[in-house]
Symmetry: C2
Subunit: 465 residues, 2 copies
């Protein structure tokens, strides 16, 4: 397709179109190394107008287009169909505006999350979204996937931080609404429809994000808890007792805590002894360091005195804080002991978590007697992650079998197979397990209306389009 | 249409279908008394299945259906096309579940907001949405219009409190997703598309709402402020200084404060003397009454000491608290002095408010030298209300002229003509003033895909469908 190549070069410049052997591996294979393809073209536009022109061309020629930003997705959503166009937003990485009067910032889709966080912090403002991949995830991707992370319990998911949005639709139309208004009930809220649609309805090019005051204080603790009932009581008591300052409530089942802290022992002391069925990492943020710390300690004393918490350690320095978070975030060495493994990201009503954990574990052991599984996650949001291993190579059939074991349990408790990581390719076959035929039909109608030629990130959700 | 009448009776029962002279006036004319019609049928279903059957019938016969719940809308959105079906949800008023483990409640669309608030409170839980019409607004309506109100600055709008949703689509399909999950990234978020669509894409029948811990304490103050710059600084300082506990920040321009407090003098003392350009009602909520009150007083002392606030009164009892809120909520007597008047609900970046107020006032005076206008609203959300009067009868032409004066100013500052009240009929002609042709085209595509026969609340947004 020499013609298409020439036309793409005319749009973005000859040096920003790559084909054949000139395509870097990073555009061919995803982070998980499970999904790969042979893109026809990699195109790196510099403006929304260039994105629009590329998409118009794709629309006219029926060429698949997959937008790509920070490549930190975990479900294979950013791998293009063979021969299609990878539209990388990495060059659109300008922070256009930090407006501390309106408490907003306007950024291009290719900005790295951490860069955006730091630009806000430089003005004493705060973008609450935070996740492990902060150093490489880009804003376009976190919007397209409605990312979650560690502070959802207080500030919500990415959709709660997007005020204004600019996207390019499947026919190349640029829809630009880069407003700084928190409230806008004038017509349909297309922004919320586009957020989380994983590049299948439009391509995010710019966004206006909501900022908060930068927290002057944070308090962090790891606590040991004896039962799931106590976990729930603890969460509710802290939500209330900290007057809404609770910003993270990360739950770890005992075997997860053991696995990660064990593997990190050469570099990190273990914050609390083993032996408890649950550990929770608790963090609060506020603006009055002295008062906040006193309140936090008082609440921790209360939950210790009542027996809700059987052991606790509170960080007294930023270094100690990082040490506590390491149990939740420095997972590499621990996960290596489960290799090869599959990871899951599911959600449910909080009260259903024990039933889900029991069912998923039983389903898995029924299939594979050597299986190991451990659970952790953002319990404050009803969001669990799981790591499953059967101690042998994961063939496609085995993957499907393990997936089925976990998702059967999700279905049983009325949960979701994708809490924050999205559907991508790896969950697509299971979409109907927690979405009704009526919901899928509605999604199909939306997709058909917005992308009738099915060129935007096609092949990902076969049930939708 | 005797046939249609018989079929409707077969669905909901003969005693729940009203025609002709049997139709009560409340189904014919809206709260503002500006919009009226002659419905062909009033139908009061008791279940989602009945709603579905009614809509299927309407779909088959091409009959317009307008859903109606608490009839507190201010923009004429709940008045059916002449001869169409008013589908009243008032009988679907059961609270199905208050789940304090998952902190959710499941309710039918016809539940009155205040009833829902009280049912939550009885379990020491809290539905933060609050607005003046709480005693008659129903859940279906506050979801369909994405209502806002007095506590958005902390807890967001209605969409932020809806976790699960059940709607009936234009062809009668029931889409039911009454889940209790805070996070669900499995496919398109159709809930957010339906929320705020004002009955034009589907009819809300049930919802799962997110609850919060019931605040054990609240602190309320009215303060006087000298300039809008100081208003912004004050808001940001309180957001930060109260560690996120700020739950209301209601701004009143001097003439609004004078008008309302003057009219209420026979029943209410005036909390602060006249003469200040701005007054703000500030409220914080928390869980530790003693600490919270001390923190609030400390922050108020700070803003007094720095001169940000020139005068302040803090409520010391619930009765005093109600007295302070009266300046913002007991508007009837004051508004009567502006009668006949038009009211507005607009939003913009906070920093743009003074420019908007100046432009709107100038635009209005240029057209009507006797005009009076006063501003107030949820400044913490960038949301202003305005009351405008020209001291004479408001003919349709004059209405359009006054609307134009205000909305020209909105357009000038890149704001929205509908922050929280919605579009309904009264704003429909101006939708294109703050939505681009591309946005309107996208909305049309969505409407055509979901309601191809245009039977759901038709005639409201001529530019959409």
């Amino acid at each position: 397709m020499q013609d298409l190549q020439d036309e793409l070069r005319a749009i973005v410049g000859a040096d920003q179109v790559f084909v054949g052997a000139d395509i870097d591996d990073r555009y061919k294979i995803d982070l998980t190394k499970k999904y790969a393809s042979q893109p026809g073209y990699v195109v790196r536009p510099a403006t929304a107008e260039q994105v629009s022109a590329v998409v118009k061309l794709a629309h006219a020629t029926g060429t698949p287009v997959t937008p790509l930003s920070g490549r930190t997705g975990l479900v294979g959503g950013g791998v293009v169909t063979d021969g299609g166009i990878v539209l990388s937003l990495e060059r659109m990485n300008r922070i256009l505006d930090v407006d501390i009067t309106s408490m907003t910032m306007t950024v291009e889709a290719g900005c790295i999350l951490q860069t955006v966080q730091e630009a806000a912090e430089a003005q004493n403002a705060f973008l609450p979204l935070d996740l492990g991949a902060r150093g490489s995830a880009m804003i376009g991707g976190v919007i397209a996937t409605n990312a979650g992370g560690n502070r959802v319990v207080r500030w919500g998911m990415m959709r709660d931080m997007v005020i204004g949005l600019e996207v390019v639709l499947a026919d190349g139309t640029i829809i630009s609404s880069l407003t700084k208004m928190l409230k806008d009930n004038a017509g349909y809220n297309w922004k919320h429809l586009l957020i989380g649609s994983e590049g299948t309805l439009g391509i995010v090019t710019r966004a206006v994000l909501r900022l908060r005051p930068f927290p002057a204080s944070s308090q962090t603790s790891i606590v040991a808890v004896n039962s799931f009932e106590d976990v729930i009581t603890l969460l509710r008591q802290l939500e209330s007792g900290l007057s809404g300052r609770l910003s993270s409530f990360e739950l770890m089942w005992g075997n997860f805590y053991q696995c990660i802290s064990e593997a990190n022992l050469p570099r990190r002391p273990r914050p609390l002894p083993l032996g408890s069925p649950f550990y929770a990492l608790v963090e609060a943020m506020g603006s009055n360091p002295a008062d906040d710390a006193a309140q936090f300690e008082r609440e921790m004393e209360k939950v210790m005195a009542s027996g809700l918490v059987t052991n606790a350690v509170i960080a007294t320095s930023e270094r100690e804080r990082q040490g506590l978070w390491a149990v939740r975030e420095e997972l590499e060495a621990g996960l290596a002991t489960y290799f090869p493994f599959l990871s899951y990201d599911v959600s449910m009503a909080l009260a259903e978590m024990p039933r889900f954990v029991d069912a998923a574990t039983a389903n898995l052991h029924r299939r594979y007697s050597n299986a190991r599984i451990m659970f952790y996650g953002h319990a404050g949001d009803g969001n669990l992650h799981a790591i499953a291993s059967i101690g042998e190579t994961l063939t496609p059939d085995i993957r499907i079998s393990i997936d089925s074991a976990i998702f059967e349990a999700v279905r049983e408790v009325g949960g979701s197979i994708a809490a924050e990581h999205g559907i991508g390719q790896s969950r697509a076959a299971f979409l109907s397990w927690t979405r009704s035929p009526e919901e899928l039909q509605l999604m199909r109608a939306i997709k058909a209306a917005l992308d009738p030629r099915n060129i935007l990130n096609p092949g990902k959700w076969p049930e939708i389009g």
